[in-house]
Symmetry: C2
Subunit: 349 residues, 2 copies
């Protein structure tokens, strides 16, 4: 049977082609192309020339099957739309770029079923590690991650029990910190504006932490406004109008993200409100992209790039030391990063 005859598809080049073209055995060609083992400079040159001339591209499918090594790291995040995940991915890339590992990205759209599908799909490629947003997963997803025999890093949340390792900020603490800051600044009639999305656990935890801190200070949330769909400046503007129409005496508005916070800020400025005197405002995320607004919104930076970098580093280290250290035989580890409060121009000190 001649090569390729099993399929009615034109075969791409193989090691064998390079071997024939260079007069060097397949095995040695393989060694040259992987920079592995001792190969004389002369043969190396012959092989490289032949490979380049033919335009040979190695087949990683075959290579990975043979070596039982796949230099991919699965990364699962909710979406790209809200600006926060691109920064995490950048952090991950920055670290992996210096290694043989390559990130492969998947999206859940905040839907557990989709997370399950994407995860199954990724694990079927036998990656060297998994980085996944959040600590809340379906039972099936947890089991898959536990059985996968690869290092697993859950990112952007540490409020809960990780499968293996978690890196990120505590959103409960972030909410609490913001509440404490604005109480200290003397604000008392506090409103909250945020997403209705029941599956954004991190937003929910921030709200919980915020509310608990208010209670500890003997305060209650005075009013709140929830919305569906994507965050935008326009949405924040509209919601702010509504909550203030209903509760004109609010003296602080806490937004679940900077995008809607920016809308609120623009609205308040237009209305001529004294910010931060008559009313204070704060968002969450520390979006650089909003710098340059007429005033700087108070916010809390979530250490996104650093989270990505640390997660990638953990995977890299463990992938190097062999796959001995996996979810099974390793103690759970939590790395909590500390968010920074930025007062900006919308929160009195």
């Amino acid at each position: 049977m001649t090569r390729g005859s099993r399929y009615n598809r034109p075969p791409t080049l193989t090691l064998r082609d390079v071997s024939e073209a260079s007069g060097v055995s397949e095995m040695t060609v393989s060694r040259v192309l992987r920079n592995s083992g001792d190969v004389s400079a002369a043969t190396r040159a012959k092989v490289m020339a032949a490979a380049r001339r033919l335009g040979y591209v190695p087949n990683k499918i075959a290579g990975s099957l043979a070596s039982q090594q796949v230099n991919l790291v699965g990364v699962i995040v909710p979406s790209l739309s809200n600006m926060v995940f691109p920064e995490v991915l950048t952090g991950i890339s920055d670290v992996l770029d210096a290694t043989p590992l390559q990130p492969v990205i998947g999206f859940t759209d905040y839907r557990p079923e989709k997370e399950e599908t994407v995860l199954f799909e990724m694990l079927s490629w036998r990656p060297s590690g998994m980085i996944i947003a959040g600590l809340e997963h379906s039972e099936a997803s947890r089991r898959m991650l536990e059985n996968a025999r690869v290092p697993v890093v859950e990112i952007m949340d540490v409020d809960g029990t990780p499968i293996d390792t978690a890196v990120g900020i505590s959103h409960r603490r972030a909410g609490r910190m913001m509440a404490e800051a604005l109480i200290a600044a003397g604000y008392r009639r506090i409103g909250f504006l945020g997403t209705k999305m029941p599956l954004d656990f991190r937003a929910r935890k921030r709200l919980e932490g915020f509310r608990n801190a208010l209670r500890s200070a003997g305060l209650e949330m005075a009013d709140q406004e929830f919305y569906l769909g994507g965050s935008s400046i326009a949405k924040g503007r509209e919601m702010t109008r509504e909550i203030l129409a209903r509760s004109p005496d609010l003296d602080f508005l806490y937004y679940s993200n900077d995008m809607i916070g920016a809308g609120g800020l623009l609205y308040c400025i237009e209305q001529g409100f004294d910010v931060p005197g008559r009313i204070g405002l704060a968002g969450f995320n520390g979006l650089e992209l909003l710098e340059g607004l007429p005033r700087q919104l108070a916010t809390m930076d979530a250490e996104r790039a650093e989270t990505g970098r640390q997660a990638a580093r953990i995977i890299t280290e463990r992938a190097e030391t062999g796959n001995a250290a996996t979810a099974q035989d390793r103690e759970k580890m939590v790395i909590e990063l500390t968010p920074t409060l930025q007062y900006g121009d919308t929160l009195r000190r």
Copy 2:
């Protein structure tokens, strides 16, 4: 030699484990798990139960090697940071989600060498298709794409010769359209503000088209300002201050993207300029996220999501009809989408 003994790594489950657990041959297990061929309901049930119980995850590496089919589509874009590529990716995902194909994303950071590396890496996985931003590639990259024997769709630009198929808007035409609109509106002293990045070919083509249209109308660009680094509202504000300090008589500012355009808009409003009377402004991209600013910036929408959808559709169709139709034996095809001019509140009609 017992299974796995070649490696000192604990093996994950294989078909053979499911076969043994269910008392059905490996081959039939494979058929069940792929929904292929005729299998009796009884055996199917047995197999599914065993697979689920064991938590079996198929090994796509092995499967793809055997079947010579890889259900991956490589997608290469410059970056995620500037908001435009996430939308393209969303369009691609929307279409691929209904197929067995999965996107795999790579970034070039606008660097041809990195594009080359990423492309080589991707092709080594033998994907079913490639989607890549732009028409400008290094010689090596072009050759790789030509020899890859997979459908190739170049996106977001049609000003040039595609390797195989191109989908997107003409940036030259976009620049020209904007120039014609503002000339028709009576603006005459025109300034340009944009990125210095020599490798952002699309931004450059827009500028070329814009300039050519000015010349056709007997006008010259009155002043221009270039910057390095990422686009932000703050940057746009700063640049606008500078260009107007230097050339106070400008009556129109054309920004190479909406982000810096937004900064310019905020600056002009603050300065109390009559926009669009005394001075008109326009950006490029149609970023939804900026809706909600005090005024709506004139812009031109680049059909990003639609570009992604069409590209994905092309790959899907060709992947189905077998790999016969590849870059080699197919005529080059260009699909030009038409951008829409949005006047907003900053461009007189």
